[in-house]
Amino acid sequence: MNKKKDSCFRVMWLLNHTSARKFEIPMMRSIGIEEIFTPKIYPQNPSFRSASTDYSGDENLTIPQNVLERFNSINWYEHTDAEDWILASEYFDVCIFILQDFRVFNVASKHFSGALLWRAYGLNSPLSHGRLINYLSKGLHSKSFNRLGSKFYFAKAYDNLDEIEPSYISNRSLYLPLGMHSVEIVDEWIGDDKKILFVCPDIKSNDYYKNIYKNFSSNFKDFPYVVAGAQSIPVEDSRVLGFIPLEMHQSNMKHLGLMFYHSQEKHHIHYHPFEAIKAGMPLIYMAGGMLDRLGGDSLPGRCVSIDEARKKIKKILAGDSVLIQRIKSTQIRILDCMDPKNLRDHWVSGFEKIKQDLEKRKLDYNFLNYKKKIKISVVLPVEYKGGSLRGALLFAEALRLGAIQSRDAAEIIFCHIDKENYYKKNDFRDVNSEIKIRPFKWKYLDGSTARRAMKYSGYLEWEPLNQEYCVVDDGINYLEDCDAIVIISDRLGCPLLPNKPTVYMVYDYLQRYIPLFPNGADQIFLDAVRSAEKVITTTDFTFSDVLEYAGVERERIVKLPMLVPDFSNKKIISKIVESDYFIWTTNKSIHKNHLNALEALHIYYSELNGQLTCEVTGVASDDLFDNPYKEIRGIVREIKSSNIIMNKIRLRGNLSDSIYQELLSSSAFLWHAARLDNGTFSVLEAAGLGIPSLSSDYPAMREIDENFSLDMSWMDPDDPYSMAFALKNMESNYIGYKKLLLSTFNKDVLSIKKHAQKYWETIKSTL
């Protein structure tokens, strides 16, 4: 959280509503606030139909040009990050905003050091601001409000708006009334077109307006009328005008007989009734709404029933000049409540209060700027070993290094399943001693226990949607000491209790291409990433699966460079050596394409006279021939029946890193025969040791080849003959490929140090 760079009082007015801007910006200027930033980008959806941009305020801003340009390029409604708010804190004291996306508010509540004013103009019943934020945040908002304390204000435009709000909002009310830039009556009304003017936008795309239109057209079907208001989807009714040019609108205000205003909402009002009054047009409106608060209950345009409204409208359209005059002369009273002269005092006292509160909070900076150690836990949710374990440990190491590079005090905790005699000390031998290893068990909380846990975490409004939630039981405090949790893969048994920012590292969605699960069985994995703060992938291929299959918004997916074990202590063998074996890394997963690979080996040895021995490595790979699964039993039987082939295939199983590296460094090449996945870093390990690879041809591997300039050899994983011929080709040419690799491959690209900071910054951005 940063201190302000200067003493100039500045406001960010993060709204684009044209009419509101016409009143509020001059009002703020009139009370001495000269420097006001307004956003230049806003969401392109029907609810912003009254929005526009205005650059005129930029001239007054005495902030650096590059900062202004950056601010102008930000969509402050939907996509902001910590850096935006930290920068904003350096120049602005107050931010006035409306809420479109809870994440924006949450980030602002953490990183903006000034006052945050939620601008409230009222919402249609039965919505309230409390309900709205509960909906947007899925019940995860109360912690943000508590955190803000006196930094937060519910800046209500009408003084009764807070009466339907929960206490965390109503206790922070600040009345900054909405008015009109000018309430001067410009009475050009003639009323010679004897029709009712009714305003109702978005009839087809918004149920709320659809009902209003339905009721109006039913109540006044025997009256002539026109319906104004922009229609996102055209309405097949010639009386519904849709968007019209300004001149036509002005002409309507001048010639149409009267305006009817339907709303009986106590906490919401539209702008157009005021416009009608200002234009001298008689306004007939229903009693019980906000106009009663503004104009009292004795105005002649007020109607307690539709019958009364019909009678009055009939008279006006019939030219009852007495009634028209009575309505016109008395309705101007309503505008008193919109007159800037009458509202200015509220704005003065409101901003005085804000300034006083900010002054008090200045005392807090010293502490708030104190950097506490950030703790991140990297959780391997399933008993994985081999490449998955190595990948997870690499992630932890990247965070450790990244934090150092970013000069952040951090502690990284690696959590693995606590299963007796499964993980050995040796599994973590190479882990840096600064990374703390914590075994854990999954604990499951029923709905009501989860609700309590969330409430105690500060999420008072959260309600469970699932029967069960899981937590990481580390025997200490369920990782409560950690600021964020990174889950390596999406394999959870039920949703994780959402009381911490969670990031998922997703490798692949194989089930999309290979039948791995029954229909719907992976829903829990998909839900997990949908609730994540960020989802990390390492290839475009998986990135697009997260987007298209898991259905996560693009903004929350991050593609980071693939991490490879640091072989910097190993020397690339500069002298090309001959070898009599190649390495096939695999495990017992179906996508490893064992059937085709074994058939290819059979062909390679029996038909193509293959000379190189195949060293098979990987978790449970030594079990491949002893306990073959159904699909490969036939080919295993065939291979076993040939002593020559059996002598050429050595099943080595899961090797320690050092033995594997030793074996790899003296091999002819690496064979990657999998059908499809997120790509394997084993080819990068191999390249790091000067060993070329022969790989199945699929998108993720092509990406790796391209990104790291590996010049790999390719084969079709669905065609055993193609695979066997490719093996034979490698047998004949691996020396050449080794030479090529030595001359072209830049080992530096593999360095974890090179990518560590990107990993760290990604995780840090979620805090």
Binding site: L148, S150, D364, T449, R452, A453, V471, I476
Partner: protein, 549 residues
């Protein structure tokens, strides 16, 4: 003399002498008596008076420094509960069958004893024959009645069998019985009673507020805890003490205990804090991390007043100039011996003869923040891998935690980790004195744990968690270096304990020097700092009144 108020709103049936806050209040008032700057008016619910008086007289709080004011009468339902409680406690709760058999047995025994005494006095055969006649009569009588007796016994057993078979159908009565006893003995755990208590508290707090509003001579009010939002209704300067909000930091751990009753308590804390305007905490950590960061309270309205050290030496020191140290140790051993007999594994400890036993001591209740599993992991490692053969003595009740019980069972530690639950304060002091090392692996506290001063006051060194509240008080680098471990890493706990046991003298010398410095702070200082704040807020208010004219 200035007068300040203390606001208490405990629920009915709370025994203040068992509450940490009760003892804090007693120390606070004793400190006020030392300072002599003011008098306190304690307002509390009618049901707390008896408990308060008991506490203050046990702690020797001088009456001159306080007066207690409360609404007149205890609600009728509470008196009714008291009546039933007394009734059940007086009756010996034996079964009807047992009582009948006992009665018959005692009558028969009396008769046989009397006859035995008489029979030995007979000298002639005729006398013996005559004396035996009634016995023969009785024998004949029972012989004649025997079919009826046999019939009655058979009927009794048939009834017993039927009762057993229909027991499930009578579950309602069993439920009603359990509920009645829960309402009497553990009322807070009963939903109906809990709600009733809440209503009583709300009603009582209105009456208390009426009393407070009538006390114009009280300049400001102090509330020692954040459980009671009704404190914010006082229309006078208020100072709210927030010891901690431990539920925030251990949400999952606490979600499993206390059920939804804790939510109510938690909501009360939030409401109290959010409605407060001037605060005091025991530590800067609670001030910044809890009040400022979590609840958005302005730092300027929060003061930090640290505790005075808590000592235990007075409970075991024998004042004898000739051999006070040996005498103290022997006295402590006697107390310890008594406590061992009440351990949760009494089969093992009852016959334990070596009272010079070497042990590590952690005095704490079981709570999710107490980090007991990490300590057990460290201890298990030290015992089985480093062969450090000390016992570990804890004061919590292990049965409250499945995780603790599972760990003990899995690692076969029931005979080496001893639980002495419910120690009296002199027994606690004895344990500290006899321990080779005191340890405190707590993850979070409102103020610096008392372990440091309590252990050193009886000459025992301490190792404890590096947590902010402890760092604030033990603020010398060398002391921190020898004392602290990382409570999130059980190996760090094990390594520090191992080091401390091997370097006990070195550790003790560093810690005793620092302990002397800490000991200069008294409860009088604590009260004076509170009074300064109360003075400040009441003078601001007086200023306002003057300016308002």
């Amino acid at each position: 003399m200035k007068k300040f108020g203390i606001y208490l709103s405990y629920a009915p049936t709370v025994d203040l002498s068992k509450e940490g806050l009760g003892r804090y209040l007693a120390s606070f008032l004793k400190g006020a008596s030392e300072s002599g700057r003011c008098q306190f008016v304690i307002v509390c619910p009618s049901w707390s008076i008896e408990s308060l008086n008991k506490l203050f007289s046990a702690e020797n709080v001088p009456h001159s420094v306080f007066e207690i004011v409360s609404p007149d009468r205890v609600p009728f339902v509470l008196r009714l509960r008291e009546f039933f409680l007394n009734f059940f406690e007086k009756k010996e709760r034996k079964s009807f069958k047992k009582r009948i058999l006992n009665y018959i047995g005692s009558v028969a025994k009396g008769y046989v004893d009397k006859k035995t005494m008489d029979i030995v006095k007979i000298e002639s055969m005729s006398g013996f024959f005559l004396y035996s006649l009634p016995l023969v009569g009785i024998f004949l009588f029972f012989a004649l009645l025997s079919p009826i007796i046999i019939f009655l016994v058979v009927i009794f057993y048939i009834f017993s069998w039927v009762f057993k078979k229909t027991k499930n159908k009578l579950r309602f009565f069993s439920f009603a019985h359990r509920k009645l006893f829960r309402m009497l003995y553990s009322p807070k755990d009963d939903g109906v009673i809990f709600n009733m208590f809440q209503s009583m508290q709300a009603f009582e707090s209105i009456k208390i507020l009426g009393l407070i509003n009538g006390m114009k001579d009280v300049r400001a009010w102090y509330c020692p805890t954040a459980f009671w939002p009704s404190f914010n209704n006082i229309n006078a300067p208020r100072l709210l003490c927030v010891p901690d909000v431990v539920l925030n930091e251990f949400p999952v751990g606490f979600s499993k205990i206390g059920g939804d009753r804790f939510i109510e308590t938690y909501q009360n804390v939030i409401n109290t804090v959010q409605g407060g305007d001037r605060f005091v905490t025991y530590s800067s950590a609670v001030k910044w991390n809890t009040l400022v960061k979590r609840y958005g309270v302005d730092a300027g309205v929060i003061s930090v007043v640290k505790h005075a050290p808590s000592m235990l030496n007075q409970f075991v020191d024998i004042d004898d100039l000739n051999f006070n140290d040996t005498a103290s140790f022997n006295y402590a051993k006697a107390l310890f011996q008594g406590a061992l007999k009440r351990s949760t594994n009494v089969n093992y400890t009852n016959g334990f003869k070596n009272f010079d036993i070497k042990f590590i001591f952690y005095a704490s209740q079981w709570r999710p923040n107490k980090n007991i599993i990490s300590l057990l992991k460290a201890y298990n490692f030290l015992l089985k891998k480093k062969y450090i053969k000390f016992k570990l003595i804890l004061t919590c009740n292990p049965a409250l935690s499945d995780a603790v019980m599972d760990f003990l069972k899995k690692n076969n530690l029931f005979n080496d980790v001893i639980f002495l639950h419910g120690l009296a304060v002199d027994e606690l002091a004895a344990c500290y004195k006899l321990a080779n090392l005191a340890v405190n692996p707590s993850l979070s506290e409102g103020g610096c744990p008392f372990t440091f001063t309590e252990a050193l006051s009886v000459g025992t060194p301490v190792v404890m968690s590096r947590i902010e509240v402890a760092e604030e008080v033990l603020d010398e680098e060398r002391v921190q270096e020898v004392t602290f471990f990382d409570p999130y890493d059980w190996m760090s706990i094990a390594q520090k304990i191992e080091w401390a046991l091997a370097h006990k003298e070195e550790l003790l010398s560093v810690q005793l020097d620092f302990f002397k410095k800490l000991s200069t702070r008294t409860w009088g200082d604590v009260v004076n700092e509170h009074l300064d704040i109360l003075d400040e807020i009441s003078s601001v208010n007086a200023g306002k009144e003057i300016s308002n004219g």
